[in-house]
């Protein structure tokens, strides 16, 4: 009997070329002739990336090769869809890609949200520190220290399980390493494949301890598609059996002895049962109290950052407007350049320059919150300056003359007559800017500050509760901006009354 079966398999192989498992694939994928795999090319080497030394070569990476091989055995084309790493699960659920294939670690949070295929790679964790660091030898030495990790990653999960470590969450491993090099953080924890791939970029870093743990990269599949999961499991099994996986991993220097565990039934079946359970494992356990506390904390931080940066923006904006109108010539030019430069470039770039650009110069290094506040203040000051300039110009010349004929110096005239009136005129437009700042302040998340929007993103990504958490978050923003909007309207009406 066994002979007949293997003979049949051999026959099939000959007849059907390579598409061994095409029949097991759900009909809709066979009809479409393709499977869209979601991945973030910004995540970089070695997963899927554009080789900087060969930018015309298109996307490469061990997962590009893996996708090609999976396509071969399943008899469909694998087409990549660009999806931000932190949104992989949501985009999969929305149906904008069919599977996730992107160093997708089998964290408990994800096990609750999606089906996971059998693991196709076993990875370990690597701790890295600055070249001069001597006091960190393992995770145990990190208590009380700042440690950078990629958000939503296995490394993140690992640190969360160890109290006392100050976790700084990044959207990219590159910036996480950057902040170890410039001394902001004591260490960074990352998956070994990432650590190896990025090592040439960061010769100043040193790996400490041996790689540890054994974790799995799996494909992510929608909960509603068990057939697709079975087909992909079979395809991975086939690639493991015929040596294709080993070939790919050796080509990318990713082969380790740990990969032999992939054939172990315990590993192969690790996620068969948990995945796809209608009620996700974390669902009953989702701690609403904790979530609300975290959102409240985020809201407080957003409020603090916004208030402080707007206060600075008002002061600096007024100074810039006065320089532009009344300063000596060089200062006037400087004011013009300042306004045009800050208005004409994206705040995102300004923020990254301020934090990572200046971060490489030791005595100019700012903490994340300080850099965030300063970045917002500098940017908004340019807009405030234009509001104030308009308001200053709107004060009639006769007012200035009246002050001058009373014997005021220019400074006294500005201080007692012109600026107070200009401030009143700019109160309403300025308040509108303040409201905008509350929402724009979420930009500071790009430099690792966890404020309200970022906190929402993290909680929603972990739990999948986008709607309820989103409503709560929106409510918190409204609670901050509505009173201001109310004030702005009252001031506007008062102004109309005064000038009637």
């Amino acid at each position: 009997m066994a002979h007949v079966a293997s003979l049949l398999a051999l026959l099939l192989l000959l007849v059907d070329g390579c598409a061994l498992f095409a029949q097991s694939l759900p009909q809709r994928y066979r009809d479409a002739g393709e499977i869209r795999w979601g991945a973030d090319a910004e995540g970089g080497a070695p997963f899927v990336f554009v080789d900087p030394n060969n930018p015309r070569g298109g996307e490469v990476g061990f997962e590009v090769d893996l996708a090609t091989e999976l396509g071969r055995v399943l008899g469909v084309r694998f087409r990549r869809a660009q999806v931000p790493y932190e949104s992989l699960v949501q985009v999969l659920d929305r149906g904008d890609c069919d599977i996730v294939l992107n160093g997708f670690e089998a964290t408990p949070a994800r096990q609750a949200l999606v089906r996971l295929s059998r693991p196709y790679y076993v990875f370990q964790q690597q701790l890295s520190v600055g070249a001069k660091s001597t006091d960190v030898r393992s995770l145990d030495d990190l208590v009380g220290k700042r440690v950078g990790v990629l958000g939503q990653s296995q490394s993140h999960q690992l640190l969360l399980e160890r109290p006392g470590i100050e976790i700084v969450v990044y959207e990219s491993n590159v910036t996480a390493y950057e902040d170890v090099v410039n001394g902001r953080n004591a260490a960074s924890l990352a998956d070994v494949p990432i650590a190896r791939a990025l090592r040439p970029m960061f010769p100043q870093l040193r790996d400490v301890g041996e790689p540890f743990g054994a974790y799995h990269y799996c494909l992510g599949i929608r909960r509603s598609e068990p057939e697709l999961q079975r087909a992909l499991d079979a395809a991975i099994g086939a690639l493991l059996a015929d040596g294709s996986l080993e070939r790919i991993y050796r080509r990318w220097s990713l082969w380790t002895d740990a990969q032999r565990q992939l054939g172990d039934p315990a590993v192969a079946n690790a996620y068969v049962d948990t995945a796809g359970s209608a009620s996700p494992a974390g669902s009953g356990a989702f701690d609403w109290g904790m979530a609300m506390a975290l959102l409240g904390e985020g809201a407080l931080r957003t409020f603090g950052i916004s208030v402080v940066s707007f206060a600075l923006a008002v002061l600096l904006g007024m100074a810039v407007a006065l320089w532009r109108l009344h300063g000596p010539r060089p200062l006037r030019w400087l004011a013009v350049v300042y306004v045009e430069l800050l208005r004409g470039t994206p705040i995102l770039v300004q923020m990254l320059l301020l934090y990572y650009g200046l971060g490489s110069i030791e005595w100019l290094q700012l903490g994340a919150v300080e850099a965030g506040v300063l970045g917002l203040a500098l940017n908004y000051a340019a807009y405030e300056a234009e509001i104030y300039r308009g308001a200053l110009l709107a004060i009639p010349r006769g007012q200035r003359e009246a002050a001058m004929t009373l014997g005021f110096t220019t400074a006294q005239m500005l201080r007692h007559v012109v600026v107070p009136q200009a401030l009143r005129l700019s109160l309403a437009p300025s308040t509108n800017d303040f409201i905008a700042l509350f929402k724009d302040s979420s930009i500071v998340m790009v430099i690792t500050v966890v404020e309200l929007t970022k906190q929402y993103q993290m909680l929603a990504n972990q739990s999948g509760r986008f709607i309820v958490l989103g409503l709560v978050t929106s409510g918190l923003y409204l609670a901050m901006s509505l009173p201001l909007a109310f004030l702005a309207r009252r001031w506007e009406r008062a102004m109309e009354r005064d000038h009637a």
Binding site: G398, Q399, E401, A402, F408, H416, P420, Q421, D498
Partner: protein, 220 residues
């Protein structure tokens, strides 16, 4: 008190007046009259340097402001000149963000550093003098034109000027308000204040003037 010697004022190619002499006698009222465009307001504004002259010299006691001073020096001397004079404008120019009382006390506080309490009594006196004592706490937007102009006069007097310059002080006012303001000006004249006033109202001009200066029609 203030004198102009051989003063010339040009606007681009046009000469508004050339080689002009003027003396404001202490305690006397000088009225500048002329058609619109004759430069009578410009002449008044030369007296406190809201307009700069292109030739000639302005004197105020020992203070001398010749034409063509470097900016910094001109600024320094002009500040002194302005601290000895005060001006009342056709359009009042009260500070809208301040109450009537604060309008009057602001300059003494800012320029001379006077204490608010000390200057307040005097400010109320001045407001009483112009018939506006009851309006001390009101804001300029709530005043009629005549009331605003009387407050403006009180504001000017609060700096203890040696000369008060009045630029068409009644031109924006209705007849009743004009009468109120003229009464205040006449009262100042009686008290021996040195006044210089621009007006296009011949009756008003002749009734107040000790010295009447008629500016000729602008030369082409």
């Amino acid at each position: 008190m203030i004198s102009l010697r051989a003063v010339t004022k040009r606007f681009g190619e046009r000469t508004l007046f050339g080689g002009f002499d003027l003396d404001l006698a202490p305690g006397k009222t000088t009225v500048l009259m002329g058609r619109s465009g004759s430069g009578k307001s410009t002449l008044l504004r030369l007296l406190n340097q809201l307009e700069r002259h292109d030739a000639g010299t302005l004197r105020c006691g020992e203070l001398e402001i010749p034409a063509g001073l470097p900016h910094g020096e001109w600024q320094r001397r002009t500040l002194q000149l302005r601290r000895r004079t005060a001006m009342v404008f056709q359009s009042y120019q009260l500070f809208p963000h301040l109450s009537v009382l604060d309008n009057v006390t602001l300059a003494p506080r800012v320029v001379r550093g006077a204490e608010r309490s000390a200057i307040e009594a005097k400010a109320r006196e001045l407001l009483a003098q112009v018939g506006m004592a009851a309006a001390a706490e009101r804001f300029p937007a709530r005043l009629s034109g005549g009331e605003a102009q009387r407050v403006a006069i009180a504001r000017a007097l609060a700096t203890d000027p040696e000369v008060l310059l009045l630029d068409e002080p009644t031109s924006a006012l209705d007849p009743n308000s004009t009468a109120d303001v003229v009464a205040v000006i006449a009262d100042l004249k009686r008290r021996g204040m040195t006044l210089a006033m621009v007006t296009h109202d011949p009756d008003l001009g002749r009734s107040l003037a000790d010295q009447l200066v008629e500016l000729p029609r602008l030369r082409g």
